[in-house]
């Protein structure tokens, strides 16, 4: 039985798989620093016989695209990587998409080990990127390696993608779409705790400038503290989050405390301890439901910020400025009845003996871009631990990496078909 063979191959190559993930995690591949990690991926793709396409994204078509989002528009030294396994023909094609970039490690003092250790303790592999999402990428590579090693002749093409810039809004996946890569379906093994996410949240980054009035700290009552005013702004935004989430009734979200959160991730203001701060900068992200457009969400947020003047007359005189910048994730969704959904669900049940849990994703992924711009219906499913993404002491459970690899291998076979 094919499943038994795949399972056996994965068991035989257990240590190899762990080592591959360790090597990838140990390469700190934050924005701008992806090259070394991509080199490891290219080596593996060549080893298993996929045709490698590696390039530095660039060009006006990319950076002027309406869905281009990144703090940078030059990607010199940053490789996007695609590996193609051409099918024998007349089968459905599949994109397997994973991002190689990771977010910064945050407060280093909160990590027990150094953040890029790749250390294995009690069946868990630790390090920034282990769960989000190099573990998932390794599941893809193991699935492909198994099928290649077993000599399974697939009918449909398989297009493996190791993209940059997911954490900032998808420029890597967009570059791959514009380069021509498209398929009948796509799988992204972001960390879903092995749940199947047919709906993917979108999100956008915003920047708010809150103004105050400077004065000497010793006569602070002569001024107006932009730090205190930014607290009013933060409370106001929490009310918007509450209101937007009260509208979500889709049962896919029933186990999620806040389906489309608004997070304020960064604050910076004032320049002198003895002066009243007259300017504070806030940066954050707004979640977008697949049932609204980016433009609708933006308009609502803009109106809400204007409404600050009714909360505090200070803002009528000194309005908070709002700017959309940097990262943006397009929301996406695949029809629950789409054949790729049953391909994946069936494979999941074959391997685990259980029905998969089907939910909505709590964060943005490149799935929206693949669905909307790439015309490639996408499911998000992967072995990582959702709660550890962007967290200190991030880890992934190694047995899940292999379980996901097995499920994905069977899904590939079922979707693309096998040449007899």
């Amino acid at each position: 039985m094919l499943r038994a063979q795949i399972n056996q191959w994965l068991t035989n190559n257990h240590d190899h798989g762990i080592k591959l993930l360790q090597k990838l995690v140990q390469e700190n591949s934050i924005q701008g620093n992806e090259r070394k990690a991509q080199t490891i991926v290219i080596e593996k793709l060549r080893q298993i016989g996929l045709k490698v396409d590696a390039w530095e994204p660039e060009g006006k078509q990319l950076v002027e695209h309406p869905y281009f989002a990144s703090p940078r528009n030059k990607f010199k030294g940053s490789l996007n990587v695609v590996g193609v396994l051409k099918g024998t023909g007349e089968g459905r094609s599949l994109i397997l998409n994973g991002h190689i970039d990771v977010v910064p490690e945050g407060d280093v003092t909160q990590w027990d080990q150094q953040p890029y250790s790749g250390k294995v303790v009690d069946g868990k592999l630790y390090g920034r990127g282990a769960t989000d999402m190099k573990g998932g990428n390794v599941s893809l590579l193991l699935a492909l390696s198994a099928l290649r090693a077993l000599g399974i002749p697939l009918k449909g093409d398989v297009i493996f993608q190791s993209v940059i810039e997911e954490e900032s809004g998808g420029a890597g996946t967009l570059a791959a779409i514009l380069r021509g890569y498209q398929a009948d379906a796509a799988l992204i093994p972001e960390p879903t705790n092995m749940k199947i996410f047919p709906k993917q949240q979108g999100s956008m980054w915003f920047r708010l400038n809150v103004k105050g009035l400077a004065a000497h700290g010793g006569t602070r009552y002569e001024g107006v503290s932009a730090i205190e005013k930014s607290m009013v702004v933060i409370e106001h935004i929490k009310k918007l989050e509450k209101s937007r989430n009260e509208r979500i009734t889709d049962p896919l979200y029933k186990n999620i405390p806040i389906p489309i959160p608004i997070n304020i991730g960064k604050i910076e203001g004032g320049d002198w301890p003895s002066s009243v701060a007259d300017l504070v900068n806030l940066e954050g992200r707004v979640g977008i439901s697949p049932d609204e457009t980016i433009e609708q969400a933006q308009k609502e947020f803009e109106k809400w910020i204007q409404a600050l003047e009714t909360v505090d007359p200070w803002f009528a005189k000194y309005p908070v400025s709002l700017e959309w910048f940097g990262a943006r994730w397009v929301p996406g969704s695949i029809d629950l009845n789409h054949p790729f959904m049953s391909s994946l669900s069936k494979s999941y049940s074959k391997v685990t003996g259980e029905q998969p849990v089907i939910e909505a994703s709590p964060w943005g992924t490149d799935g929206g871009l693949l669905t909307t711009v790439g015309s490639t219906p996408t499911i998000v499913f992967g072995p990582g631990v959702t709660e550890k993404a962007h967290y200190p002491n991030e880890y992934i459970e190694i047995n899940k990496v292999f379980e996901a690899a097995e499920i994905i291998a069977l899904t590939i076979v079922d979707w693309c078909g096998v040449e007899r």
Copy 2:
């Protein structure tokens, strides 16, 4: 009459005085950048025949002094300047102390002109430093110039000081004290709106680190936002400010809304819009009453910060760390019956025809250092506009600069005595 002569000289030299202040204001003399402004001062001192002592402060005695406070301990390129006018003998000596350094300009968009313009409009001279405190320094220089031009032979020594580092805690004045400059009294023309401040507030800079727990912005409920926790800290500190100020009963403070304020001037935290912030840094200053010691105020603040654990259990697990750093101003006071108080008050009444307003200072000055370490009783009195110090569109009223110069000239004569 001497007063008429001084008044006439000031009138004759009106344009010259304005030009001197303009030149000084146009030199952006923020910390580290004082040289050019000091060069103008040195030139003027030489012109009026004072013996100039200009040096770059340094040495262990200075930087290891218990009252040394500055973010830096190397002052290469930053001159401290003293000009001495030796008396004929057997008179009381006087220090005239003004700082040459200015604070940064803050949010440039809130200034109508560029911040170092020195522009004169409707009798006001604009620019960072005009009021705090180059206008006052020019009052001192005009007073001395008048007395020199009129050939008045003073009995006591006059020691003019143009110091650096007042805005960061007094390292310049401390260096002058350690170099041996001491006198029977001192005057500092900080911007008092022409009021007489016999009590000077002290203050200290603090830094607080507020911890959170990182998580992905899309699952922010898994983390704890250090930005939200810092708002709790800020509210808690406001309660301490209220409590400390409720204890102030001295009538000198009766017209001051908050006698010893606590200002949070700077906030910085989080590093990624899509991540929950796990660390926020707050910096500010605490006012110290002349009726308490620095150590007492510090202990009270430290206990209050520890008490955060009773406000929110998060802080029991992740206490806020507190660090005293950088600037510190020693509080100071002169006895209301001190002869220098009547010297200045009498001169004020002679020139203005009114009784001076006597109040407590709303901010720290180098007066505490001169009083405590320099054994030199000090009064703060000057022509600048208190509310414009550290403010955008800072200005000084030119007629006040000349009025203060006249008052100070008469005070010098009365205090130091004239040789017949």
